[in-house]
């Protein structure tokens, strides 16, 4: 899950070195926390959350393959 997100995010931000992704398992499935440089926050959220929404959709595809649930939090 992390590798997919990392590839996409590092491609679209201006500061790839500032990208931090952590995964946490809980009863409700996998929780992914994404941290980027303050100036990159707009890029990973997008206008009206369009990028974030597309990221969540793709993460769900991967989660469905392994029969889990996934949540993405941008912090």
């Amino acid at each position: 899950m992390k590798d997919l997100l990392e590839y996409i995010i590092k491609s679209i931000v201006a500061e790839p070195d500032a990208v931090k992704i952590t995964e946490e398992n809980s009863d409700e499935g996998l929780l992914i926390k994404l941290e980027v440089a303050p100036d990159d926050k707009g890029r990973v959220i997008g206008r009206q959350g369009r990028v974030a929404q597309a990221l969540r959709t793709l993460l769900r595809v991967k989660a469905a393959k392994t029969d889990t649930r996934v949540r993405l939090e941008i912090v």
């Binding site: 996409i8 491609s11 679209i12 990028v51 597309a54 959709t57 793709l58 393959k65």
Partner: protein, 210 residues
Amino acid sequence: MERIEITAATVEQAIEKAEVQLGLSRDQFEVEVIKEGKSGILGVGGREAVIRVNPVTLPEKDAVKGVTEILDTLLGLLGVPGKVEVLSNEIPLALDIKGDDLGILIGRRGQTLASLEYITKLVVVGRLKAWLPLAVDVAGYKKRRRDSLQRLALYLAEQVKSRRCAITMEPMPADERRIVHLTLADDPDITTQSIGEGENRKVVILLRQG
């Protein structure tokens, strides 16, 4: 290469907006100022600035190779076995993903496919440093959908004419609504409109007045 026009209160703001929208930095596109902005008094009489943005282009051969690799990588990371096939290596590039059991990549009303296409475009901009118009399809889904939407639109237009009443279609994403509008654009007796917001936006087919 597609040119994009952007409107904002001032030229600087328009350039900033272009950077965010394209995901490019200032040195990756040329800016042509069409209209300077003017600030009005208390927001009255102001005029918005309009700029035209030309992203720096990439040779087509490199573009095809780069885009195919990116899409391949994304599919690999998604864990979906699919083969990327280039349908058009001229701009706009057209790619189709072939394989078995790819319904998961299409999603409800093609939403997953739309997300995949959008993310692919963003990754392409980020990695190749050029904005490329491109279309991603999965097992010919969009093509089939276009054909059936065109047939449906023509059928509904006939219904509108014979029943003398407007017909509202199911909510659809923007590119699908566009297909309906374009299909019926030449019909002298019919007009089409989009109503509703966001996810719920849908096309109404109605008789042309007068």
